[in-house]
Subunit: 337 residues, 4 copies
C-alpha cells in the first residue's frame, strides 16, 4: 500500500500517518519526493484504505497488492487443469458441459442425455433447485431432480453438475453431483463459499451480474482458502444498460482472468445472451478467445421447457455447433471436448 501525502503536508502529519499504520501492524517506509511524500506500508493485515485517506495531510491511498493470493498467478504461475470424467478444463484443454436449464422429468433428461452422449458430451447439467426471481415461478424438483439426473448420467457414463443454493443442501449434493455449481446470485454468499472450501469436488463459480473480475476472484479465494483448490470460473453475462440482450457477455474476461489467475474460466453463452440464436456465435467467439470450456443449455423440446427454453438449443443445433467448435479450437492451440 502506498500513501501519498498532500503537497505541503507537515512533518507532524507524516509522523501521525506512519504511527497509524504501524499500529495496524504495518511497517512504514517514508520517501520524500519533490512534490509529495510517499509512505509505503508493508506487511500488516487487511485495512480499509479509506480509513487512512481520512487522516490529515493524506492525498490518496493506493493498494498495490491484490487481496487474492491462492488464485493468483503469483501463487501458482502454471495453468490449473481440472479433469472431470476425462474432460479437461484449463491449459490447452477446453471442456463442454451441456443439458437443460432445469430437470423436469426422467423422460426429458433421458431424451436430452441420450442425444448429448451420442455426440460425445461427457458432462451433463440440469437444475434441481432453481433460484427464480418470482416466488410464483417453478422452483425445481429438488432432491427428486438430483436423483433423476444422476440415474440418467450413470446410464450414459456422464458426470453431473447442478447448482447448490444453500449450505444445508451440500450433503445432498455430495451424493449426486460431480461439480458443485454456485449461481451468479450466490457469488457473494460467503458462508456457502466457505463451506464449499471443505468439499472434495470441483466448484464452479458463476460471475455475479454486477461483480467485477476482482470480486469474482475473491469469491474463488473464499473456496480455496478453505482447502479446496478445484475451482472453475464461469462468465455468464453482466448487467448493463443495453436492452437488446438479457445480459452483456464479457468475453474479454477470458484473457483478463487468464492473465491474473491460474484457474480455468468457462463461458455460459445461454445465460450470457438469453437468446437461442445468439448462443452459437458467442460460443464460437468464446473458443476463439481461448475459453477453457463452455456450458450450453440444450433441451429436446425447448418450446415445452419449464424454464429458459428460449435460450436452449435443439440437440441437432448443439451438435452442429459442437463440430464447428472443434474446428476453431486447434487454430488457437486448444483441444475442445
Amino acid at each position: 500500500m502506498l500513501i501519498v501525502m498532500r503537497h505541503g503536508a507537515t512533518e507532524e502529519q507524516i509522523k501521525n500517518v506512519a504511527e497509524f499504520i504501524e499500529n495496524k501492524g504495518f511497517a512504514a517506509h517514508v520517501s520524500n519526493g519533490e512534490l509529495h511524500t510517499v509512505i509505503g506500508a508493508v506487511g500488516g493485515k487487511v485495512i480499509d484504505p479509506r480509513d487512512i485517506e481520512l487522516l490529515d495531510g493524506v492525498k490518496e491511498v493506493i493498494k498495490i497488492s491484490s487481496s487474492y493470493k491462492l488464485c493468483s498467478r503469483m501463487f501458482q504461475p502454471n495453468d490449473t487443469v481440472l479433469e472431470v470424467n476425462g474432460i479437461k478444463f484449463g491449459g490447452e484443454h477446453a471442456g463442454v458441459i451441456a443439458g437443460p436449464c432445469t430437470i423436469e422429468s426422467m423422460e426429458q433428461m433421458e431424451a436430452v442425455a441420450s442425444k448429448l452422449s451420442s455426440y460425445g458430451v461427457k458432462i451433463l447439467r440440469g437444475g434441481a433447485f432453481k433460484p427464480r426471481t418470482s416466488p410464483y415461478a417453478f422452483q425445481g424438483l429438488g432432491e427428486e431432480g438430483l436423483k433423476i439426473i444422476r440415474k440418467v448420467a450413470d446410464k450414459y457414463s456422464m458426470a453431473v453438475t447442478s447448482e447448490v443454493m444453500e449450505i444445508s443442501q451440500i450433503p445432498l449434493f455430495e451424493k449426486y453431483v460431480d461439480i458443485f455449481q454456485v449461481g451468479a446470485r450466490n457469488m457473494q454468499n460467503f458462508n456457502l463459499l466457505k463451506e464449499l472450501g471443505h468439499v472434495q469436488k470441483p466448484v464452479m463459480i458463476k460471475r455475479g451480474l454486477s461483480a467485477t473480475i476482482e470480486e469474482w476472484l475473491m469469491s474463488a479465494e473464499y473456496v480455496m482458502s478453505g482447502g479446496n483448490r478445484e475451482v472453475i470460473l464461469c462468465e455468464r453475462g453482466i448487467r448493463t444498460f443495453e436492452r437488446a440482450t438479457r445480459n452483456t457477455l464479457d468475453l474479454c474476461a477470458i484473457p483478463v482472468v487468464k492473465k491474473l489467475s491460474h484457474l480455468p474460466i468457462i463461458i455460459d453463452p445461454s445465460h450470457g445472451t438469453g437468446l437461442r440464436d445468439k448462443v452459437a456465435p458467442m460460443s464460437k467467439a468464446a473458443v476463439a478467445a481461448g475459453t477453457d470450456g463452455l456450458m450450453i443449455e440444450v433441451h429436446d423440446c425447448p418450446e415445452c421447457a419449464l424454464c429458459d427454453g428460449a435460450q436452449s438449443l435443439y440437440p441437432e443445433q448443439f451438435n452442429e455447433l459442437y463440430k464447428t467448435l472443434k474446428l476453431i479450437a486447434p487454430i488457437i492451440g486448444k483441444e475442445i471436448r
Copy 2:
C-alpha cells in the same frame, strides 16, 4: 400479456400461438388490427415471454401485469406503516436507525448507544456476521456480538437490527433482534427470503448492487408470500461506472417505490456513498425526497473502527444532522424520529 404478431402473419401462425398459450393455461383473445394482429393472454401462470417470441409469426411479447402482487399498490392502496419500539416507518412518518457498521466490543457499543440514546434514537444497528469480499478480512463477532448489542440496547430501551446471512442463523437472530436485515448480496437468496416469510418480525431488504426496482419488489414478494407482511425496503446505492463514490445512491427510488408499492422505503447513505462527508448531504436529500427512514452508521471512534469507519459519522456529527433532518421533514409533511 399481449402478443403482437408480425405484419403479414398467417392465420395458421395466429392459431398456433393461440393454442400454445391456451396449453399453458391462458385464455387467448385475438384482435385484428390494421397492421398487426394482437393476441391478449389472460389468466394463466408465470410464463417466460421469450418462449412465445420464438414462435413463428410473433413480433413481440409484452408483459402487462407486474409479477409482484402483495407488495403492489393494486393489492393495498394505502401506505403500510410499520412501528418498531415506537418509531414509525411509512405514511407521514420517517424513522431513524443508527449505530456502528460492526459490533466490536461491549465498550464500543456502550459508547455509541449511550450517545445515540441521549439524542433520542430508538433503534440501534450493528453487524455481528459480516459479509466481507475478502476471506482474510474481519468476519464479525458472531453470536457474541448479538449478545452485546442486545444487552446494550436493553439498557437504553432501544430496539435492535442486524444482518442475518443464513437460514441456519434465523433462530439465533429471533432471540436478539427486532428487525431482520437482509444484505444487498443476499437480496436474491430466495431460500433465505422464503424462511423470513415465516418470521414474526419486520424484515428489511437492502437493494442488490445491480438489482432493478422490479426485482427488489419481487424479493419483498418472496417474504410476503410466506405470510410476513412487515417488509421495509432499503436503498443503499447501485453499481455504475462512476468511480468518485463507492456506489451511486439512487434517491429517485423513493418516489418510484412509493408509486408502485405500499411498503416503506428507507435510505442507507453510509453504504450508498461510502464517504463520511457525503452522508449528511445525502441524508438531507433523502428526507426532502420523502424517504420513510434512514439508517446511518455512527461510531464513537471511526478511525479505530474495524470496518467501514470511513463512512461512519462521529456521534456529534450525527446529532447535528439529526436536528437538521427534523427541520426539513415537516416542510414536506413528514415527521422524522
Copy 3:
C-alpha cells in the same frame, strides 16, 4: 505519477523505466521499498500511464494529480459565484432556471414566461435546436425560436438560456442568449468547447449520459483553458440498468463536485427523471443536498408539448414546488431564487 516496480524487478529494468520517463520530460525519483521499488515521475507533460505499464518490470502506474487544473479547488479554493440577471449560482446562492423543453411558438413562450415571471423566475430556458435521437422527430424552430424566446424574455425582464449544438451557431447565439448551454451528447464535443472558451458569457455544461465526474470536469477545463472562467456544471442523470426512470439522477454529484471544484453545479430534475411526478421530490432533494441551482421544465400545456411534455410541470405545480424549495434552502444555509 508513481511507478510501482514488480517485486524482483532488476536494476536494469528500473533504469530503463527511469530513462523512458526522463525522455518524456519527467524527472525520475527512485525510492527502494522493502517489496517494491517506486519511481516518482515529476513534471513532464500528459502521458498515457499504459505506455509505462507495458515496460518490463513495471507492476502498476498510479496517477497522482488530476489532469484538470483551472476548475479545481487547488487552483481556486473559494466557490465561484456566477450572476446572471441578478440570479446567483454558487456559494450560498442557488438559482432557478425554468421554461419549456422546446420553443414552439410566440404564444406558448408568452404563456409560460408570463406565469414564470409572476412567480419571480428571472431566467427562461427553451430549446431552439433540438438534438433528437430520431431524424424523423421535431428538430426545433432554429433561429426563429431564438428570436421568440429573446423577445418574450425581454418583455418580462428575463435572461435566456438555450442549447448550442454547433460551432457555426455560436455567433447566432451570441445575439440571443445569456447562458450558452452544452447538451449531454456534446459534453465531449471538444471543438465546440474550445470555441466556447472565447465567448464572454457563462457556459452551462451538462454531464454526458455515461461521463464520469472527472471527465465532466475535464470538459469544463476545455472551456476555461480558452479563457472563459464562467462555467456552470449541470447534472441531468446518468445511464444505468434501472428501467423505472429514464436516467438515474446522481445527486451525490453535488457534494463530490463541490469538493473537487470551485465551479457551481446545478441539477436538471426534468431530464434526470423523465417523469413529471418525480421532478418535485428530486428538486427538493437537490436543494437539501446543497445544489447551486435547478433547471426545471415548465409548459403551460404539457399534454400538447412537441417534446418532453411528460417531464414538464404545469406552471402552478412549479410555483408550489418553488415555494417549498425556498423553505428548504435556508435550513442548509442557502438562499434560492
Copy 4:
C-alpha cells in the same frame, strides 16, 4: 403503438385517449379484452409514449415499430456489402483496416504502411484530429496529417479512413479520405450526421460509450435519411463498472445488429479493450462471431506512440494475428481480407 388501458378504465377515458392520438394524426383501433382495453395507434408521426401514459386511465404504452427504417431488415432484407479499394464489408466478406491511432509524421506512416501493405492490408487508418479528454493532450496534426496519410496510402495503393470531428472539416476530408469515420463521442452529433448524409463516400459510425444498439441504428438512420446509404457500424466497447479493461467490448452486438439491420458491422478491439495483449483474443472472437470487419491499431514503435500506444500491436504481431484470422473466417463461412 399499443395503449393498454387500466383495468376498470371508463368509457370516457377510453374515448379521450382515442381522440388524443387521433389529434396527433394516428388512427385508433379499440379492442376490448377481458381485463384491459387495448387501443392500437396506427400511422401518425413520432410521438413520445410518455405523453399518452400521463392521460387518465392509461396503464402502459407500448411501441411496436422501431423508429429506424432505412437501416432495418424490414426495409432491405439482404446484407449490404460495401466495397472500398477492393475490400468488402458485409455478407460473406470481412475487411481489415489497420494503422496507427494518430498520424505523427511522414516517417511513422511510411514505416507502418509499408509493412501493412506487404501483409496485404488495403485500408490505412490514422487520426489527424484527435478528440482528447484533456485540453492539454496532443490534439493531432490536422490537415498536415491528412496530407501525410494520403500521400503514404497512395504510394502503397491503399485507401484511407480518418475521423472527422466537425461539419466544417467535411470539405477537407473529402479531399483526403475514402471512409469518413465518426467517433464514439460524436455518435449523437446529429448535425454532423445529417451533413454526412450528403457525402458520396462510406461513413463509419462508432458506437457511443453508453449508446444502446437502437440509438446507434438511429444514428445510422440520420446519415441514410440524408441520402447516403453507405454506412458501416463499428463497435468499440461500452462503459460498464468493470475496471480491468478500459471498456467492455460487446461482441454480442454482432449477431444483434445483423438480425435487426442489413448494414455491415465491424469491431475495433484496440479501443474496445485498451490493452495490446487483449487485442488478439478479441479479434479472433469477433471473427468467430461473424463480424464484417476489424479495425486494428498498429504502430511500428508503440512505446514511442503519441497516443494509445498501449493498445497498438507491433506490425509482426498484427501479421501473425491476420494469418490466424484467415484460418478462422472460412470455418464460419466468411472470407477475411
